[in-house]
Amino acid sequence: MMAWFTESAEDLRRFRVLTGGQAVAEALRQIDPDVFPVYPITPQTPIIEAFAQIVADGKSHAHILTVESEHSAMSAAVGAALAGARTMTATASQGLAYMIEIVYLAASLRAPIVMAVGNRTLSGPINIHGDHSDGMLARDTGAIQIYVKNAQEAYDWMIMGTRIAEHPDVLLPVLMGLDGFTLTHSAEPVEIEEDGLVKEFVGSYEYPYALLAGTAGTYGAFAMPEHYFEIKRQQIEALDRGGVVAQRIVEDFAERTGRAYDLVEGYRMEDAERAMVIMGSQSGTVEEAVDSLRARHQKVGLVTVRMFRPFPRQMLARLLAPVQAVAVFDRSSTPGSFPPLYQEIRASVNGPRIDSIIYGLGGRDLTIDNVIQVFDRLGQSAQDSNAIFYAGSDSRTKEG
């Protein structure tokens, strides 16, 4: 049962029924970025439409820069962020793919751009529905990556993401992924904080040596092998610091709002023998499967990964090492090898049998039955299967 039914009348007033897209727009209104360069793509459109209305109604000072492509949106975002303006944007799928070249540069130039990604699969075939292929394409850009479970988290992580991105020890882009349609277009109650609290939480944007501050030098110089490596290392280390900074920021956020987040969340993991690992909105489905198996006295649990970059290796190792068997659910593929989240877990966790499950490509639903099947298979042997399973697609393959 959702907690909001039991809140007091005072607290209830802060709840509004919003889609994930609207919740992100509401966070944008409160954060009030200076520049918002953007190009439309489904399922990011609910975010930018809602935010455009907010700006049209004079409720945000943001300058919405409606550029002619995502490549230019990210390029303009880099220019604006380094110029000294708080800069945010949003995209999805082909739009993120089109941006990728410049996302690498945003990270390397240390531009703290916060971007909501309405996670959608990549063409082809062209398909507008949710999976994590787009986010995974940005895996190695050097951006911080968050995947949220619901609209509340989307709202909260836009706010926390701003603080993380702009922290002087970090200064990196943050990609906040919310599943296309499942989250961007579905309405649920979202607790909205007071404007003042959010503004105080994010603070003002202070980019060191901004281009417009009169102190700037040469940004984006050409680096030969004798310097490139060190510059890249500094950037990699900044991303690692992003994890430490994020931990402090979620704690501060919890103190102020009462909503406490873990970068990696364990669910009924106390004595679990078998566990699922997943990211994004389908975590709820697995939770239900866990509950129903727990009701049958099976020792199963769930781990939801919120922060994908930097990858919280130690937290995952701690949660999963005691388990006998793990199934990692990836909503994207790495044709020719194991999918991304699986590879991460493999590299981080020693001990348990680890299966790879690909699910939900191109927006297919993951059912509770799919998950229970995976748990059943995990229980059959302690041996590594060394295979990839396709949840929700196996039967079709057989039929076909």
Partner: protein
């Protein structure tokens, strides 16, 4: 308008783009950069596209620039400048910034005619207040002299080499100035490194207006075109005096030529002085050269007619308000 002496003084005193770069001897691009920056009297922020200028002036940890300078990638400098300018507008509205800033983009012909055209078009349509300077050396020089949309027909480049089945580039260059004009921005001009005063005056007029402005400046590339470094200026003079590269400006849609070579010299002679066209002379490709002369003549007459059409406007108060001298 600053005269040549003033420009020279500013260039050596201010050193906005100083020594220490590694562009080739005889390269025309530093002349473009120094003249442009010495003609602007507000603080500037420079956005630079990938290309010879960027690579040869900012080899980490040294830099030839003493003004704020940003390079992101090859094809997006107009978009990056859009972002910088939007940041400026937003911060100014908030009261966080009070001083004037001029935004200048430097990009090569590859970064402008070809891969950067979409970003440029978008930025021009949106009307960001910046001066976009295309330094046109008629090819991708940084990557080893490949053809671009600005490379003249018949030029031998490393991707359009001459061979038994090839007389160099088989297509004519595109008329970027006309493409830019189709965006109806207030100020568009063609200039050249051989006419520094003209270039400087154009920068002053371009940066007066509160919208996007565009300068296409013909530069010289000794290794790319095949001539001796000390001949750069005369090389570009020939391009201008032959009508191959007319110096012109279009202000609020009104055309005028800012140089009237009398008599107009032959384009063939300009071609003859560059190794990239040597095959035309070795093979006596008279037809091609004749058609080139003819095309240039037709274009020149078209420009004269436009100039005639708009003569009155330049004498009117609206025209004079742009600070025209000649």
């Amino acid at each position: 308008m600053a005269n040549l002496r003033t420009l020279a003084e500013r260039i050596s005193e201010e050193e906005s783009f100083g020594s220490g770069h590694s562009m080739c001897r005889g390269c025309g691009v530093p002349i473009v950069v120094r003249t442009v920056l010495a003609s602007i009297r507000t603080p500037v922020v420079v956005v630079n596209a990938t290309g010879c200028l960027e690579v040869a002036s900012t080899r980490y940890p040294v830099t030839a620039w003493s003004v704020p300078w940003l390079h992101v990638a090859f094809e997006n400098s107009a978009a990056v400048a859009s972002g910088v300018e939007s940041a400026y507008m937003a911060l100014r509205r908030k009261g966080a910034i009070h001083h004037d800033v001029t935004f200048v983009v430097f990009a090569g012909d590859g970064g402008t005619y070809d891969i950067g055209l979409q970003a440029l078009s978008g930025a021009l349509e949106r009307g960001h207040r910046f001066l976009y300077v295309c330094y046109d050396n008629e090819g991708y020089m940084n990557t080893g002299i490949q053809r671009s949309g600005a490379t003249p027909r018949a030029a031998s480049t490393t991707t359009t080499p001459v061979g038994s089945e090839s007389v160099g580039k088989s297509e004519s260059r595109k008329d970027l100035t006309e493409i830019v004009l189709a965006h109806h921005i207030p100020y568009v001009a063609q200039a050249a490194i051989s006419h520094v005063q003209d270039l400087s005056d154009k920068v002053e007029r371009a940066t007066k207006n509160q919208s996007a402005s565009f300068l296409n400046v013909l530069s010289a590339c000794p290794p790319g075109w095949g001539f001796e470094a000390q001949d750069s200026i005369t090389m570009i003079q020939r391009a201008v005096n032959s009508g191959f590269w007319p110096l012109l400006e279009v202000i609020d849609g009104h055309w005028r030529l800012t140089s009237h070579p009398e008599p107009r010299q032959s384009v063939t002679e300009w071609f003859r002085s560059q190794k990239r066209f040597a095959h035309l002379f070795a093979d006596h490709d008279v037809d091609l050269l004749d058609s080139l002369e003819e095309k240039t003549e037709t274009e020149w007459r078209r420009l004269l007619a436009l100039e005639e059409r708009d003569r009155e406007w330049f004498l009117s108060p609206a025209g004079q308000a742009w600070g025209l001298t000649g």
